[in-house]
Subunit: 346 residues, 3 copies
């Protein structure tokens, strides 16, 4: 990135105070930015911003002590976001061509303006919408439908029959539509139950790196619109996830779990199979849900209980060794009392 | 899938009651099946089946209220399983050819009737048995032996020298034979211990997506016949797993652990290094085993204790905040008693 | 491997007692080695070594009862390590050529003596140092810098702009530089914060299979020199890891965490975002750190407390059901005492 402050001001709709031709090569936080980078400060951070070594600042107004070049703009944080998105797009820019090194079945239906990297494999009857980036060494099975403006990062595997909406982003090496884990134990043998269910990933879903979204024996596995999933997350067969859910890293949901909309699952949350988590419930990191939970509340602990209660329980547990001693002392004192009282009675 | 009921009846050995030419396009559960799908009900679900919108039903007998097309068969659940397996095979059907886009060393020994996808890499002196499906973008190192009828899904990495039996299934992006985690700390530096042990995966093993099965410094890592492993499972170096074991998602076993046969490990179970879990032991989800456990019993908790005891402990812990107050109250009452008794004695 | 004992003795600087032409095909532990393998025993294991079926032994001296072929050497364990490293190198030996099946941008700068496997994709302006092994089906994005003597195993994905030092080893299917998990909730929608930070991996770092090292919105994600990371580890955006750290499998660190040098994190350790773990702290398996921890100490539990205290708490918790009964009994006894004392007073 090489932008003058004048160029940046034009992009975000701001006004330069200082050197309009000053060249910016990056954006960073107030503490870390160097003299060729731009940083940003909302009103309440203006004082702190005076100490920043940034070469320029996005700020809501001129303020005492700010001697860096400034761009005055109504919403510095949003302006920074715009700049970051532009830099991200530049850093990831791909040529929108289809690599000769991709293996694409003749029966595939391809949209316009695609990037398909070398080593990408796209199987029979699959449909890819417009403006998708299908990176190198991905595998897309038969009869898959992918909407438009999707980004499928390198190494992602999407098995046959999955249906993926628009603007879906799947990070590297994730696996969509792998078999659910279902076996019958017959005469001491584990006999596989075929997993032929479908996967539906709705619009605007983001799936982190190294996730597994499993297909069910029957029925569908569904991830609702706008849901965002971090890395190393495991969704068992037939899970239904609502809209705009946030799932942090290393979450694991067993088969058939139902998650409502706008639910928040912290890191390492687990759910046993076939329970329901209500809309807007929030499960703190590490919570293990062993039964269905009402929406709109916060939970913690193993098994999950209301978060406040779980914190109290955790605090109480730290006193356990001492409390055991208190209990033992008390038993002796009571025994002593009983003895004395008995003597008195005699 | 497009089958008439007559065709399905012939496949599973049943008898049609209703329209023999009715066309079925899928199979689903009683609740979810639509009018072009078939469902199934064992004796005890016949009443519930009357409400199903399925176009046809596999049932053990004609029964009051069933107005769908029926196929009468002795074991509806098994018949459904047969149909599902057939649909699964159809959905996953591959051409049994070796892709020109695969990179196969000249010294590889290939069986008959293979599918090897584009981007598959098979290294020197490796042996692949008959009827294997080696999907796209897999990597198989040198001197590997793979039996017959195996399914190696896309992106799987099998490093040099691994030995894999017949009918083994490895789901996408799993890693077999990666280095175990072994270092010596010498003068403040972590010095790598070479990991040259072998991996043995016996017949009929299934390994989920995104699993790691590590090779040891010396000795072997072994997964016994018929064992089934879910996604995101980590087996450390030199682990020995018995036969017909079930391991749920996100299990992690440290180096040198010995797991008996027919053991069941729930989701997120962990074992510290070099302990032994006896045959038919069952560890509930989240159990962390810190020492060896006798077979034939159920366990839970951190560290692992008998499951019933662990549940009792978990229940007792929920009373901790209240019990602390009871303890404090009791201390005051005893103090009061002591005081009164002392007064009396004076 | 086929070596005579004379050849091995020359390699490690030892002296053969027995058949100099005896052929060795492998190395193994005292218990497991067979008659064509060599094993090793330090002074304190010499007695135990007499029972080994190994065809030859590396030992510090001739000793009563050792009737195997012997190689006398000052440090048997180190000599075994040398042999293992040589066998490992032989087992993994690659031809140092660049595969025709690799897709390498014209603008890439390639060092000398490289192995680049089929299906490897190396993007614009990336720099690869001398003597690297870049295995099959890897993906390396634009503007990446990789030092010399690195080993990038199959399926690894390194996104744009990452900077990797010398002698770095990354095991299969790991993902370096994927987007951190950052969203703003605006009017009920999760809006992505672009992640444009850089990744710095210093010299001599080893990263296990199926790990994710995330890039931050801004700032850098740093892994210090000599740090070793096991499989399935997740490092959130902007994490800074010190030097010579050991991280066991399935560790998960949230964004902005600072880990000092020579820290040891056991399996499944988790840290909430933006906390600091001091130098040489050691966190036992499963520890969940909810606030910053002082260096040089051992920790355990959820939330993390000093390890000894955590063990005492865990032990105390096993008595909970019984202690609840004791508490209830005590309450009755105190009530009884109060009643009796009241009667006496009347």
């Amino acid at each position: 990135m090489h932008y003058t402050l004048a160029e940046i001001a034009a992009k975000i709709g701001g006004e330069v105070i200082g050197d309009k031709n000053f060249v910016i090569t990056g954006i960073n936080s107030l503490e870390v930015a160097n003299s060729s980078e731009i940083s940003f400060a909302e009103e309440k951070f203006l004082k702190q911003a005076t100490a920043s070594r940034a070469g320029a600042l996005l700020v809501p107004r001129k303020s005492e002590g700010l001697c860096q070049n400034l761009i005055i703009c109504a919403q510095p944080f949003q302006a920074a976001g715009l700049l970051m998105a532009e830099m991200d797009a530049a850093a990831q820019q791909v040529v929108h061509t289809i690599s000769e090194g991709a293996a694409i079945s003749n029966s595939v239906s391809l949209g316009e303006n695609l990037h398909i990297g070398p080593g990408a494999v796209i199987s029979e009857n699959t449909v890819i919408g417009d403006n998708c980036r299908i990176y190198a060494n991905t595998y897309i099975g038969k009869n898959v439908i992918i909407g438009s403006d999707c980004c499928i990062y390198p190494g992602v595997v999407i098995r046959e029959g999955c249906k993926i909406g628009d603007r879906v982003m799947i990070h590297p090496n994730s696996v969509i539509g792998s078999d659910g884990f279902g076996f019958l134990q017959i005469a001491g043998h584990n006999v596989k139950i075929p997993q032929i269910g479908q996967i539906i990933i709705e619009d605007d879903v983001e799936i982190g790196a190294l996730c597994t979204i499993n297909r069910a024996a029957l029925d569908k596995t569904i991830i609702g619109r706008g849901t965002k999933i971090d890395d190393h997350v495991h969704l068992g067969h037939g899970v239904h996830i609502g809209e705009e859910v946030i799932m942090c890293a290393q979450v694991g949901l067993a088969g058939g779990v139902r998650i409502g909309s706008q639910v928040m699952l912290g890191p390492r949350v687990g759910c046993v199979d076939h329970i329901t988590i209500g809309d807007r419930a929030r499960l703190m990191g590490g919570t293990q849900a062993a039964q269905s939970l009402t929406g709109g509340k916060d939970y913690g602990g193993t098994p999950a209980i209301p978060a406040r209660q779980s914190l109290r329980q955790m605090m109480a547990a730290t006193h356990l060794p001492k409390d055991r001693s208190r209990l033992a002392v008390l038993e002796k004192r009571v025994q002593e009392l009983e003895k004395k009282l008995a003597e008195k009675t005699d």
